[in-house]
C-alpha cells in the first residue's frame, strides 16, 4: 500500500534522468570509465610484478659454481664451509649433468641443440644456497666468495630489486591516480546528477510539500549515480579485458622472460575493484548533489 521504498518508481526516475541529460551522462560514463581503465591497468601491472617476483624460482637463491678441478672430497668440504655461514639456510648440490638436463628441459623443443654435449658438458657443478635474510645479502655473498674452490657467484638480486622498486612506484602512482581520478569522476558524476536535479526542482518541491521522506527524494538520484557507475564499470571491464588479452598474447607468443597471470585469475579482482569503485563514486555523487535540496 504505502511503502518508503519503491524500486520501480526510483528506477524509472533514475533512467529518465540519465536520458534527459544524455550527453552529460555519456560524458560522465566516459570519464568514469577512463578512470577505471587507468586504475585497472595499474592494478594489473602491480599484480603481475608480484606474480613474477614470486614466480622467479627461489629469488633468494644464489648459485655458486665450483672449480672443475675440485675432487669429491673438496666439494664436500665446500658444503660444510657454506653451512657454517650464519645466513645460509639451505645448501643443495646440483651436478653438471643435472644442470644440463634442467637447461635442456627449459628450452623445451629447442632442447635438441644441446644434443651431443653430454660427453663434453661445459657447465660446472654448483651449489644452490638460499638465504635466511635478504638484507644481509652483500655480507653473505662476500663470505661465500672467501671459500676456496668457488669460481663464480650468480644471483638475481638486481632483477628482483628493480621489480620491487617498479612495484612500489606503480603502487604510488596507482594510489595517486585513484585519488585524483576518483575526485574528478565524483565531480563529474555529481554535476551530471545536478542537471537532473535542476530539471526536477519543481518536482522535488512538490515532493517536500506532500510529505515525501528525504530518502524517497534521494533514492532516484543515488540510483542514477549507481546506474552511471555500473554502466561505466561494465564498459571499463570489457576494455580492460580486451587490452589484457591483447598484451597477454603478445607477451606469451614472444616468449618474454616475464610471465603474465592469465585473465581468468585477475578478472574477479578487476571486477570487484571496478564494481566497488564505480558504485561507491556513483552513489556518493548522487548523495552529494541532492544534499542542499533537502534542508528541512
Amino acid at each position: 500500500m504505502f511503502r518508503n521504498f519503491r524500486l520501480g518508481f526510483f528506477l524509472r526516475q533514475a533512467v529518465e534522468g540519465i536520458f534527459r541529460n544524455g550527453m552529460m551522462s555519456l560524458a560522465s560514463v566516459a570519464v568514469l570509465c577512463s578512470c577505471l581503465v587507468l586504475m585497472g591497468s595499474f592494478s594489473l601491472v602491480s599484480y603481475n610484478i608480484t606474480y613474477n617476483i614470486n614466480a622467479i624460482q627461489s629469488v633468494n637463491e644464489i648459485v655458486l659454481f665450483l672449480d672443475p678441478e675440485l675432487t669429491d672430497d673438496d666439494i664436500t668440504e665446500v658444503a660444510s664451509s657454506l653451512r657454517k655461514i650464519e645466513n645460509v639456510q639451505a645448501v643443495t648440490f646440483v651436478s653438471k649433468d643435472e644442470a644440463l638436463r634442467q637447461y635442456r628441459e627449459s628450452l623445451g623443443e629447442d632442447g635438441a641443440i644441446l644434443d651431443g654435449l653430454e660427453d663434453d658438458n661445459p657447465i660446472k657443478h654448483s651449489y644452490h644456497i638460499t638465504l635466511k635474510d635478504m638484507k644481509l645479502f652483500d655480507q653473505t655473498v662476500y663470505s661465500v666468495g672467501q671459500i676456496d674452490g668457488i669460481v663464480k657467484v650468480r644471483d638475481r638480486r638486481d632483477f628482483v630489486q628493480s621489480l620491487t622498486q617498479t612495484q612500489n612506484i606503480v603502487g604510488l602512482i596507482c594510489t595517486w591516480f585513484l585519488v585524483i581520478l576518483g575526485t574528478v569522476s565524483l565531480f563529474i558524476v555529481a554535476n551530471t546528477i545536478k542537471l537532473t536535479i535542476n530539471a526536477r526542482r519543481h518536482e522535488i518541491e512538490i515532493m517536500r510539500y506532500v510529505g515525501a521522506t528525504n530518502w524517497f527524494i534521494r533514492w532516484p538520484f543515488v540510483i542514477e549515480g549507481v546506474l552511471l557507475g555500473a554502466f561505466a564499470a561494465l564498459v571499463a571491464f570489457s576494455i580492460e579485458w580486451y587490452i589484457y588479452i591483447y598484451i597477454f598474447d603478445k607477451v606469451v607468443n614472444q616468449g618474454e622472460i616475464l610471465q603474465l597471470l592469465p585473465w581468468d585469475r585477475v578478472a574477479a579482482s578487476i571486477g570487484w575493484i571496478f564494481g566497488g569503485i564505480s558504485i561507491a563514486l556513483g552513489s556518493l555523487g548522487g548523495l552529494i548533489s541532492i544534499r542542499k535540496y533537502l534542508k528541512a
Partner: protein, 222 residues
C-alpha cells in the same frame, strides 16, 4: 486542529512577521485569513507547514507539536496537510492525471491505489475529461483545480490555500470557492488566505484579519 499560542516569528533579518499571535482553528472549519500585504499571512502558512520555525510560542497542527517536531518527522506532518499555491506549481511535463498521481506515488502509494484514487479525485474537481491534458493546455481556473486535486489526493485533514484565486478570473474564483465549500462539507478543514474581501462576503464563513502580525478581527460572515 490548528493552534497558535502567543507565537512570535522573527526572520533572520530582524523582521517581526508575527507578534504574540494566537489563533485556534477547529477540525472541519472553513476559515479565511485576510490582511494587507506584509501582514504576515504567508508566514502563518509557512509556520503551519513547518517551512519556518517560530521564534517563541507554541504551535500545534493536527496533534503535532511543531516546536518539538524532529526534522525527520516533518513529512508525517505534511501528509496531513494539502497545500495550494497562487501559482499552481503543477509540473509542466506531466499531464493533470500524472501531476495528481505523482503526489501519491512520492509518499509511496502502490500503483493499484493510485489508479483507483486519482480518477475519483479528478471527478470531484470536475476535471475528469481533461485528465490527459498538460497544464499549459488548461485555463488558470482549471490549473488551480488540478492543483487542488493534487492537494486533496492524499486525503489531508487540512487544505491550506495561499491566494488560490490570485491568478484566476472572478467568475472562476467563485467556482473554486464552491469547490472548497464542497471539500469542507466532507469534513476537511479549509484555510484560505486571500486579499479579496468579495470572496469572504460571498462565502459568509469565519474570517480572521491580520495586521502587523496580530489578529485584529475574528468573526463570521462578511
Amino acid at each position: 486542529m490548528i493552534e497558535f499560542q502567543n507565537v512570535t516569528m522573527k526572520y533572520p533579518n530582524g523582521t517581526k512577521a508575527l507578534n504574540d499571535f494566537s489563533l485556534t482553528i477547529e477540525d472541519g472549519e472553513f476559515v479565511f485569513i485576510i490582511g494587507q500585504s506584509g501582514a504576515g499571512k504567508t508566514t502563518l502558512s509557512k509556520l503551519i507547514t513547518r517551512e519556518e520555525k517560530c521564534s517563541s510560542g507554541v504551535i500545534r497542527v493536527n496533534n503535532f507539536n511543531l516546536s518539538r517536531l524532529r526534522d525527520r518527522d516533518v513529512p508525517r506532518l505534511r501528509r496531513t496537510l494539502g497545500v495550494v499555491f497562487q501559482d499552481f506549481r503543477l509540473i509542466e511535463n506531466k499531464t493533470v492525471y500524472e501531476n495528481v498521481a505523482f503526489a501519491m506515488k512520492v509518499i509511496g502509494a502502490s500503483d493499484r491505489i493510485v489508479r483507483k484514487r486519482v480518477p475519483y479525485i479528478l471527478n470531484l474537481v470536475d476535471l475528469a475529461d481533461k485528465a490527459r491534458r498538460f497544464p499549459r493546455e488548461l485555463s488558470g481556473g482549471e490549473q488551480q483545480r488540478a492543483a487542488i486535486a493534487r492537494a486533496l489526493v492524499n486525503n489531508p485533514r487540512v487544505i491550506l490555500a495561499d491566494e488560490p484565486t490570485g491568478n484566476v478570473d472572478p467568475k472562476m474564483s467563485l467556482e473554486i470557492m464552491e469547490l472548497f465549500r464542497r471539500i469542507n462539507e466532507q469534513g476537511t478543514t479549509v484555510i484560505v488566505i486571500t486579499h479579496e474581501h468579495a470572496l469572504v462576503r460571498y462565502m459568509k464563513k469565519r474570517y480572521v484579519e491580520i495586521s502587523h502580525g496580530c489578529v485584529i478581527n475574528d468573526r463570521v460572515g462578511g
